[in-house]
Structures are given as structure tokens and as C-alpha cells.
């Protein structure tokens, strides 16, 4: 009797384990390498960034009003920080079936129109977004290059004013990267932001 109960419990916990959300990265976690297709057709891997001090990974898309509101700020982040060793990698994980404006062709068009100077990768299987625990667009993960690892240093919003960049008085990502560059503690390691939910397949 006891044995049946125990095995039932085990079965239940296994079900919960697989039914629940995939484990997601927290601050300090090492990120598993990923390799995704860029808008230029070439594959880009995190492990390609051997000489970088870190990367600013941004889950983004074409269609979300918040992504649009932040578009220039994302480009500015790359302009200001790529040369300092923290380039931007933008990743679109939206299912094009659910959001046709986020197809690979549309991504190419946006990257061209906006002259993206950073990779804009498609996460077709959505596995990278899931492993990061990305939920919204735009959703930022600042990674620090430590030895051969990339460790999560900041998760959240770009700043505290979605509508108006000039009115933002907390620039979370800039402050995080500046702190990493200066070897100081990051003032705010985690924030939340209202955004468009990532359009997950078959939900």
C-alpha cells in the first residue's frame, strides 16, 4: 500500500516536472550556448562572442507596441555598448503562425529598414526563449563573460519609462552594464515590465 502511494507520488511529481514551465535562468546562472539563424542567413552562437565582456540579449519582435516604443533605445544600447564589449543580440521567438508580422521575412525587412548593426535571430523552436524564461517583448538578459561562461547579471526591462526614453530616470540595462564595466555591484539586478507576451506555439 505504502509502495503504491509512493510510486503514485513519484509519478505525479514527474508529471508536474514535465508539465510545468521549463527551468529558467536566475541571476548568476551560467547560460547554455545557443545557435540561431540571423536575418543575414548566417548562424550566430553565443560562443562566437569569445572576445566580448558580455552580451545584452534582448527578446524582441517586430509587432509589439512596446518593442516599437523601445526600438531606438535598443539600437542606442548597441551603439553605446558594443564598442565597450557588450554588444546586443536580439532574438525573436514569436510563432509566425500566431503573429504573421514576426515571420523571418518580416524580421529581415525590419532589420534592413532600421539598419540593425546587431544580429536579429529567429528562435524557431522557441527553446532559447524557454530556457531563458523570457516572457515578454522586449525582455532583456545582460550576460557577463566569466572565464568560458556567460552568467546572467541582469533580467528585466530596459528602463522605467516605456513611453518616453527621455523621461526614464532609471535606465536599468545601462546601469547594469556600466556597473559590470566598472567592476561594481549592479544596483538593480531584476525588474519586471509590462509587455506583449511571447506568442508561444500550440498553447
Amino acid at each position: 500500500m505504502k509502495k503504491t502511494k509512493l510510486s503514485a507520488l513519484l509519478a505525479l511529481s514527474l508529471v508536474l516536472l514535465f508539465a510545468g514551465r521549463a527551468p529558467k535562468y536566475e541571476i548568476g546562472d551560467s547560460v547554455t550556448d545557443f545557435k540561431l539563424k540571423n536575418v543575414d542567413g548566417k548562424m550566430v552562437a553565443l560562443s562566437d562572442y569569445k572576445s566580448a565582456k558580455g552580451v545584452i540579449v534582448i527578446f524582441d519582435c517586430n509587432t509589439c507596441p512596446y518593442s516599437k516604443a523601445y526600438n531606438e533605445r535598443i539600437q542606442t544600447l548597441n551603439k553605446n555598448y558594443a564598442s565597450k564589449g557588450f554588444p546586443v543580440i536580439a532574438i525573436n521567438a514569436n510563432s509566425p503562425e500566431l503573429s504573421p508580422g514576426d515571420s523571418f521575412e518580416e524580421m529581415k525587412a525590419v532589420a534592413k529598414k532600421k539598419n540593425y548593426e546587431f544580429p536579429y535571430l529567429i528562435d524557431e523552436t522557441q527553446q532559447v526563449a524557454k530556457s531563458f524564461g523570457a516572457s515578454n517583448t522586449p525582455h532583456v538578459f545582460v550576460l557577463q563573460h566569466v572565464g568560458s561562461d556567460f552568467k546572467v547579471a541582469y533580467i528585466g526591462a530596459i528602463d522605467n519609462n516605456t513611453r518616453d526614453a527621455a523621461a526614464a530616470d532609471k535606465k536599468y540595462v545601462e546601469e547594469a552594464v556600466d556597473a559590470l564595466l566598472a567592476g561594481k555591484a549592479i544596483p538593480t539586478e531584476k525588474t519586471k515590465a509590462i509587455g506583449c507576451g511571447i506568442k508561444w506555439k500550440n498553447v
Binding site: 507596441p65 516572457s135 519586471k192 515590465a193 509587455g195 507576451g197
Partner: protein
């Protein structure tokens, strides 16, 4: 001349009455809804006109609000505050009558956790509170037909 002015005025008023009014509010107003001490179960839905899954599930909330007298639905709109007119015309077009509050708080980190600690920030999201027993449910995804009824039963 005065007569015409009066007619125009009356006509204008009549139009105003028919159109759904959207109240632009700060977080304290939403906090009052969350903390309200009534017998009615509070159903609070976070949405925006640009959010397709939110728009899709709106009729479920509209129907719930009309059908269940022991439930109070409040729709918290997250369009930007300067889009008040856009939200109003959207609601008129959809013939919505449920109360809509446009939350003018763009520093999200000051209030997201006060709604629910587990909220990652994606919408649609729905908070259900039974003030009588303190039970609450928070769902961060689109709801399907019939799900609201299940959630309401869970907080009874």
C-alpha cells in the same frame, strides 16, 4: 439662434451619454478595487487595445459582468494615457459596458508586484479576489470559454 444652440447642446450630451467613458487613474484607484470590502467577487482583467489575445477574451468578461450580479468586473486598460480617445472609441465600437480604468502608471516596477508577486508582466492577465474569504487567483494568460466560471468556483 439660441434654440439651435440648445438642440446642438442636447444632441452633444446624448452622444456623450452613449459613449463609454474611460477613467484615467493612478495605481491607488486599482489598489482600492483590489482591497474593496464588498460581497461581490472582484474580477480584474489587464488588457490593451493592441494586445490581440486580450481583445479576444474581452467578450468573456463582458458577459460575466452582465450575467453575474455577485461579480464585479473591472477592466484595467494598459494603453498609454494619451490613447484615451482611442480606447473609448474601441469600447463604443464593441458596445462594451463593463467599467474600464486606464491605468496611467508607466514605471511598472512600482506596482506590478502589488497586483501579484508571480506576475511576469505579460498580458492578458487576470486577478480574481473573493473579499469575503480572502481567496485569490492570478492567471497570466488568455482565458478560454468556461474557465472564468471554474476560477470563480475556486475562490468560493
Amino acid at each position: 439662434m439660441r434654440k439651435i444652440a440648445l438642440i446642438v447642446f442636447v444632441f452633444f450630451c446624448a452622444c456623450q451619454v452613449r459613449a463609454q467613458q474611460v477613467e484615467v487613474v493612478k495605481f491607488d484607484r486599482l489598489q482600492n478595487v483590489i482591497d474593496s470590502k464588498t460581497d461581490k467577487i472582484q474580477v480584474i482583467n489587464f488588457w490593451a487595445t493592441w494586445c490581440a489575445p486580450c481583445v479576444k477574451e474581452l467578450p468573456l468578461f463582458e458577459k460575466l459582468n452582465a450575467d453575474k450580479k455577485d461579480v464585479k468586473v473591472t477592466l484595467i486598460n494598459l494603453d498609454f494615457a494619451d490613447k484615451e480617445k482611442k480606447v473609448e472609441s474601441f469600447l463604443s465600437k464593441k458596445k462594451m459596458t463593463t467599467e474600464v480604468l486606464l491605468l496611467d502608471e508607466i514605471d511598472y516596477n512600482t506596482w506590478i508586484d502589488k497586483v501579484d508577486q508571480s506576475w511576469g508582466g505579460a498580458i492578458p492577465a487576470t486577478l480574481i479576489i473573493n473579499p469575503k474569504n480572502g481567496k485569490r487567483k492570478f492567471i497570466e494568460r488568455e482565458l478560454q470559454e468556461g474557465e472564468l466560471q471554474k476560477l470563480l468556483a475556486e475562490v468560493e
